[in-house]
């Protein structure tokens, strides 16, 4: 297992280099630093001197991959690609185009992002699984069919409508919680409860359908009939036999998501004014701050790969057949 994980870790390196190559190609080759300078300086009559000065100030005046003027290792290291992209491997994100320390920003904004994403994830998981088990209990009945229709309808409504609808109903008309904003500490729940609930509801449709399919496959198997025959109640069969056995496919879909929870939700955070990484990313996108977007892409890729490795570990933990192979 350790051996396998080591190989997995090594395999991550070329993937991350590939990710960096993609972002680098997007940000520095399709749009040259000259174009970037022109976008940032804004005015139509930018002089070549102004562009050179902006590039020098942001360190964008180096050659792309190969620097013939430098000596020794410098031919490779004193280049844009090495400085802008490979440096990310040490989690040194550098400065944003507006001059702020990206690493520090990320550390500060991770907290609120997690405070929103983690409860949404856990509550969503619990609601989806419980409802799916209940629906499978009444499989092929009117309850099942109604739930399926409801799930399709829920799925067909854009998440944006849930957010706007929830904000208008709960905050604007009923005045139960503030519309948006955030406060660290004990009062945070007031700002988080609405986005968490909306997050759970908007994920309910697809979640219910997915888990229902998984459990339905499991419930048709022989051991379920045996468990019933030996006198367990239907709900106990679900909880003690179907749920643990259905856990394996659930793990593949769920564990990979956990690390990316750090990244926060773009739309939720910006609608509810939560100062997390999601709204950070949106601000960077809208302000065309390439340095931040590049850092977030790298971070997202790292977290995804961590998620894949966690999935393998979880698999080995849940399934002895994998563990002892």
């Amino acid at each position: 297992m350790l051996n396998y994980l080591m190989r997995r870790l090594l395999y991550a390196v070329p993937i991350l280099i590939g990710v960096n190559l993609i972002t680098f190609a997007l940000f520095f080759m399709v749009n040259t630093p000259d174009d970037m300078a022109r976008i940032h300086l804004g005015a139509k009559q930018t002089t070549p001197e102004m562009i050179e000065a902006w590039k020098a100030a942001h360190g964008y005046d180096r050659p792309l991959f190969f620097n013939p003027e430098a000596e020794g290792l410098g031919t490779v290291t004193d280049t844009l690609f090495f400085n802008e992209s490979m440096r990310l491997f040490t989690f040194d994100f550098g400065l944003s185009d507006s001059g702020r320390d990206i690493g520090e920003d990320i550390r500060q904004r991770m907290g609120p992002s997690l405070a929103l994403a983690l409860p949404t994830f856990l509550l969503g998981l619990w609601v989806n699984i419980t409802l799916a088990l209940a629906v499978v209990l009444f499989r092929y009945s009117l309850v099942d069919r109604t739930a399926l229709v409801a799930a399709v309808v829920l799925m067909s409504i854009s998440g944006l409508f849930y957010i706007i609808g929830g904000q208008v109903l709960v905050s604007k008309m009923l005045h139960w919680v503030p519309i948006s904003g955030y406060q660290p500490g004990a009062d945070a729940w007031k700002f988080l409860i609405l986005p968490v609930l909306i997050g759970v509801v908007s994920g309910l449709g697809s979640g219910l359908r997915w888990y229902r399919t998984l459990f339905l496959e499991e419930v048709e198997k022989e051991y379920v009939r045996t468990a019933r025959a030996k006198g367990l109640s239907p709900w106990q069969v679900m909880r003690r036999h179907v749920l643990p056995n259905g856990l394996l496919p659930i793990l593949t879909g769920v564990v990979v998501v956990i690390p990316t929870l750090f990244m926060g939700s773009l739309v939720m955070e910006s609608f509810f004014g939560i100062p997390g990484l999601g709204s950070y990313t949106i601000e960077a996108i809208q302000g065309q701050d390439f340095a931040i977007v590049k850092a977030m892409v790298f971070l997202g890729a790292v977290l995804y790969i961590v998620g894949l490795m966690l999935t393998d570990i979880a698999y080995a933990w849940a399934d002895p057949r994998v563990r002892f192979k």
Partner: protein
Amino acid sequence: MMLTLLWTDTLVWLLVAMLAAWGWSARRDRLVLERWQAVFTSRLALTSALVLAAYVVVALLDSVHFQLAGGQVRSLLDLLFAHLLENTERTYSAPFATREFVKSVVQEGGVTRQVHLPLAHVHPERFWPDVGLGLALGTGLTGLLWLVRYGVSPIFKGRILARADRRLFWAVLWAILTVFCLLWALSRDFHVFGTDKVGNDVLFQALKSIRTGVLIGTLTTLLMLPLAIGLGVMAGYFKGWVDDVIQYLYTTLNSIPGVLLIAAAVLVMQGMLENHPEWFGSAEARADLRLLFLTLILGLTSWTGLCRLLRAETLKLSQVDYVRAARALGAGHGRILLRHITPNLMHLVLIAVVLDFSGLVLAEAVLTYVGVGVDPTMNSWGNMINAARLEMAREPAVWWSLAAAFVFMSLVVLAANLLSDRVQQVFNPRSAD
């Protein structure tokens, strides 16, 4: 009047031509025909398909552009709803309202008062005549189609619907046509979904948004399919280093969070458009080019899922007896891939295409909200929702833009979801019982 096709228009009609060609070549294929007949035995699927067809027809009407004498570019849909382009008000007004939503300051004989001014293009007395006209037109059109269907029967054999519920088919068709005609007739004398901040008709915006949504849902898959099929089949068939390279490619792309990759690509694309104003002649062409790039980007970022699926299926297929027999008989790689493997993957491709459509329509709204979607000047449900966000915060709230976007968007996504469920059920051999 001169026909001018925008880039996306050309691609849409190309897609229509391809579908028609595929339908023509598959018309003798009993298996495909029977599958489709089975799809439409479900009443829900039949209804959904008709609703989707209505959206597609509107989108196609909106994809034939003319250059008028005055230089403006108008589509067939614009000409059909020309009255809505002209009947603009000054500001917000509620659906079917006769007066403006916001009070204005008026001076009457030295007295300053705040009143809701009457709207310029509303004629309440023509409500019932319009309803009558709409009903008559809708029924008339349905009758006409019915006559064509049964009068010129040999042309339209309707074989795909052979096992469908005929009465339901005509009832739903009548309902859709009548609703459309009612909207058309009423829109001449009312603002059915109200007007927006600068007095533009919201119904018109929602109708124009149909093209954007349908285009993103279909063109993206069209652009993605060659990549997904080509790479997936090659990886599964040739194995070895080809497989390694392709797997590396899609794992790398997959590990970048979807929205971020799209956002990064769109940012770059925006920069490119800013630096190359010579690529487009007008604002419409610019928005259109941006839409084209957006579908391209969405296509480039969304082929990985299908590719992985096709790779796994090809791995299985390349060991099947008939493929080995073909190989033993001396068939080349190209022949085996084209004649024996790819046709047997088509059900997966079809399911993916139908399944992706609704997701892409929903994605457009989110991307536009984030600021990396379609052009802000383009009519789209995402832009409508975006604007509605501020309107809902007003007191009292301006709800009709949001409501219109909600109705138009949810209906098409719901129909697509229901149809894709049925298609999946019928075409997936594993779920066949």
